[in-house]
């Protein structure tokens, strides 16, 4: 396993290299469903990140006590418990946000990012590393959701976080805040991420070639 990777690398990989949304394509349902506005993206991202961090910590702590056959069931119960905490807290403290996210708060329990990280990381690593990994993934997920929510809100409503940003005579593209717009925005974002990645790979390759040429000379 990657025991040698530094803590900062463990955190940073969630932001881009292994971004849950852009690279691993996990948790697409909430990504598409709640990103009609930037604020919803932030709310959903933070709620998911909270559950992810708590569940990763808990699962990492009990990883040696849980027999292999029942581990998935255990993970599900742990995740469901934290989702209930988030659901009730949101209902009490942020009723407006809770209402606009609707059924997608309880649905965090079936978000594959959380079970995915539990199975792939927290069940094999210590509590500190697991929390760092979960934080990175959580921040990456929140960033992706906020970005998508921002793009859709600007184009579909002419505003960002509820503040009008487009010129007054801008005719909003209503389709962007409708379901179809979610698919378009995410599809094009994935395409853009692929282009950036290829460009980065190529420039890394070129740098390596220059370095080896310099060594030979």
């Amino acid at each position: 396993m990657s025991k040698q990777t530094s803590i900062s690398a463990e955190f940073l990989k969630g932001l881009w290299e292994q971004s849950p949304t852009l690279r691993q394509l996990l948790g697409l349902c909430p990504t598409l469903a709640v990103t009609t506005a930037a604020a919803n993206g932030v709310g959903m991202g933070l709620a998911t990140a909270f559950v992810l961090v708590c569940a990763s910590l808990m699962i990492s702590l009990v990883r040696k006590l849980v027999p292999g056959q029942v581990r998935i069931a255990t993970y599900v119960v742990v995740v469901a418990a934290f989702v209930t905490v988030v659901d009730l807290t949101m209902k009490a403290k942020f009723p407006a946000m809770s209402k606009s996210l609707g059924a997608f708060i309880p649905l965090i329990v079936v978000n594959c990012i959380i079970l995915g990280r539990a199975e792939a990381f927290a069940s094999k690593n210590g509590p500190f590393r697991s929390v760092v990994d979960a934080l990175g993934m959580g921040v990456g997920f929140t960033a992706a959701l906020t970005f998508l929510g921002g793009v859709r809100e600007i184009l579909g409503n002419g505003s960002l976080f509820g503040v009008a940003v487009m010129p007054a005579d801008y005719d909003p593209w209503i389709v962007m805040i409708l379901p179809a717009g979610g698919f378009f925005a995410l599809g094009l974002t994935l395409g853009a991420a692929n282009i950036i990645n290829r460009w980065r790979e190529q420039s890394a390759l070129r740098a390596a070639r220059v370095a080896s040429a310099a060594k030979e000379a």
Binding site: V76, A80, L88, A180, G181, G187, L188, L190, N194
Partner: protein
């Protein structure tokens, strides 16, 4: 007539995949081939219907009478996970052919948010038992329809020259967007 309305609403107007965004993961993952799309759709519809029935009973005979409605999320996910396991065992015993067709899709269904979403929606809307079943079958039909449409398009897409950056998930999502646009046409239907 009311039940027919629930069915059409769940299948076309509020299609689970294309307008409610539930079950996107299998929609992107399993829509590569027409035959597996049909199998996945059928398996999901079956589990949806069973789950809707069981969670209705859990909600109305255990959670509400005991006043522990806040345990809904925990109870539902456990019931669904157990149900999927049980269905898998029964199918394995009863019909080998069916198991071979649906078997590999069943474990995937546990984390399909369409199942959990349907149960939560049904509990939120406080549907009757019969309405719950109709809602589940409608949602399953809509899921299958979206999956099969997508698989048909993707089989054709294999032959198209897609820009390199959009290959794979990108073009699938863009196609889904166009499908979602066309499904918006059903929004005018009223029951």
């Amino acid at each position: 007539m009311e039940l027919f309305g629930i069915f059409i609403t769940a299948t076309l107007i509020n299609n689970f995949v294309l307008s409610q965004f539930l079950g996107i993961c299998p929609f992107v993952g399993v829509s590569g081939k027409l035959s597996s799309a049909v199998s996945m759709g059928m398996a999901t519809t079956f589990v949806l219907t069973m789950a809707a029935m069981v969670t209705y009973l859990v909600q109305h005979f255990i959670l509400l009478p005991l006043g522990i409605g806040f345990l809904q999320t925990v109870a539902f996910i456990l019931v669904i996970a157990a149900l999927v396991q049980f269905v898998e065992m029964v199918i394995k015993k009863v019909s080998t052919a069916l198991y071979r067709a649906l078997g590999i899709f069943l474990p995937l269904i546990t984390t399909n948010c369409a199942i959990m979403g349907l149960c939560i929606f049904a509990a939120m809307k406080d549907l009757s038992f019969i309405a719950c079943i109709v809602f589940a079958i409608g949602a399953g039909a809509g899921f299958t329809l979206a999956l099969v449409l997508m698989a048909g398009i993707r089989e054709e897409l294999e032959l198209a020259s897609v820009p390199r950056a959009l290959r794979g998930a990108g073009i699938t999502l863009l196609t889904a967007g166009i499908l979602a646009l066309s499904f918006m046409g059903f929004a005018g239907m009223k029951f």
